[in-house]
Amino acid sequence: MNPNKRAPHVILLTILVYFFLYAPIFVLVTYSFNASKTNIVFTGVITQFGDLKLVDGNVMQSPCGPFHWFCELGKNQEVMNAAKNTLVIAFISTFSATVIGTLAALALQRYNFKLKTFSEVALYIPIVIPEIVMGIGILTLFSQIFSYLNNSFGLSGDGRLGLGLTTVILSHITFSIPFVTLVVRARLQGFDQSFEEAAMDLGANEVVTFWRVTLPMLLPGVLSGALMAFTLSLDDFVITFFTNGPGSTTLPIYVYGLLRRIITPQVNALSTVWILVIFLAVFLLQWLQNREVRS
């Protein structure tokens, strides 16, 4: 056996790195139960249930008890709007990018055409250029187009075209497509085409074959691609930062705005909820992949 396997220094370093990865997350979660309103020092957990009672900037008693900041979060209209925007953007861009990216994967894996090399290179661009370059590029394009249209149609006031949900969604679709294509293409590479040939031999046309044979067999790959696009969209800060406008604030943008002002434990409560959601999403992704490996 490999002599390094149980080397004590490897185990020690592993423990230290895991500690480094999880200590900040532990701090975030702990402080979401902090009684202190200013949230600079941890003054203890809110233990009493009952009407809201504040002493020296510490919450002594709350209708929600230790979950005081989570309840406040639920009442915060800005957070709820940002959460809604984040989900709307993630769902629409994931759906579009998954469909478009899957078609691209089929084209690249199964067909030969003139623009194939160009397409492959284009799909690698988002991976090899810094996100900020893509962000400012899209911002420049949209602002130039909008100012041209606003001027030539004489749009003014609320009628003016500007950045918003649509521009964010279009940008998210753009950076998600390459990842969906990569994942689906990897799945297609190990694909046994004899099933499709059998379907055709039995008289199914291309459309029926696609819906009844190809797609069901591709589905695990398509689903992992979709889940990846979804997490990328939920997580995105840089591109959204440059392409969002009034009314299209997402949660990461909202949190960033708060970090430059006063931070209450509400931000920690939001982080805790977020970490929980991510925990479940990663769990689901791994479960899907493991099921795929087993079958």
């Binding site: 691209a104 030969n112 990663v282």
Partner: protein
């Protein structure tokens, strides 16, 4: 006619790829071309773009200024060159530290039993997908003067009866480095793990049979075979670190300005998109050049896909 189209494989391929091309050309290639064009332009007083051909923005980036304090017509100020250099140096430092931290962990995961391996990987994926902004915020709580780290050190010192004044750790270059390492560590662990996992156990056995000790086995077998993972991880870490502005913004305050902050400010505060575009292009060229030479030396890793 329709039959002919149905049999034309090339046409079908184009049809399937066309929505992708529409997005890639419209929202990726076109913006890059536009960025290049306006980087040679100049701005008007309200932050609009005047299309012209001037190298002013690049000359300004190189450090030559026409608005000098002492009234001279031109002067040299290496401010922007320093920012570019600082960003490059920080990206290299971060990448090296991340490799050193990620390697043993990836090795440990790759050598674990199949059942445990998934659990250990899961534990890497959770911080990876936890939002970037939230993770910077966590370090803000840890590093600030009244924060968690000073609290812990203070408690230890107090226990030992040693006087302790809280350290100023937030808004220092060190804070930015720690933040960057934390943000990008998972991006290195996964590709190195993927390449280590592929190494067949029989190779270790052969090395041991031939009398190699553990250090020799590591240097001659493990390390060379895991290089594709290290290369892929380096690309996944180096490129984003070069352009990130949140970490330096939140943990560096106004003390640590990187090229990402410079670009962001030109577009949002300073309202000079032409200068910002020039800086963005230089950033892109710098990352592409480093990546190109690096991958030419070590090959392009297939482990680039995380998922």
């Amino acid at each position: 006619m329709l039959r002919k189209l149905r049999e034309n494989k090339s046409f079908q391929g184009i049809l399937l790829i066309s929505p992708t091309l529409l997005f890639m050309i419209g929202l990726l290639i076109l913006p890059l071309i536009l960025t290049t064009i306006i980087s040679f332009g100049s701005r008007n007083s309200d932050g609009g773009v005047i299309y012209s051909f001037t190298l002013d923005n690049y000359i300004r980036l190189a450090g030559f200024s026409t608005s000098c304090d002492n009234g001279a017509t031109s002067c040299f100020d290496p401010l922007y060159a320093q920012i570019l250099w600082r960003s490059l140096a920080l990206a290299l430092e971060t990448t090296i530290i991340v490799i050193i931290l990620a390697y043993p962990l990836s090795y440990f995961i790759a050598r674990a039993s199949a059942k445990r391996r998934n659990t250990f990987l899961f534990l890497v994926l959770v911080p990876l997908w936890t939002n970037f902004v939230i993770r910077v915020y966590a370090w803000m709580m840890i590093l600030r003067t009244e924060g968690v780290l000073n609290g812990v050190i203070g408690a230890v010192f107090g226990f030992l009866h040693i006087p302790f004044t809280p350290l100023n750790m937030l808004y220092t270059p060190g804070a930015v480095l720690v933040g960057m390492v934390y943000e990008f560590l998972p991006f290195m662990i996964l590709p190195i793990f993927t390449s280590l996992e592929k190494i067949d156990n029989s190779l270790y056995e052969a090395a041991a049979d031939l009398g190699a000790n553990s250090i020799r086995t590591f240097l001659r077998v493990t390390l060379p075979l895991s290089m594709p993972g290290v290369v892929a991880g380096t690309i996944l870490v180096f490129i984003p670190v070069m352009g990130t502005f949140i970490v330096s913004d939140i943990l560096g305050g106004r003390q640590v300005i990187l090229v990402g902050n410079l670009i962001q400010r030109q577009f949002l505060d300073a309202r000079d998109p032409t200068f910002g575009s020039a800086a963005a292009l230089i950033l892109m060229v710098m990352t592409l050049v480093v990546t190109y030479f690096y991958t030419r030396k070590f090959g392009f890793g297939e482990e680039i896909v995380i998922g």
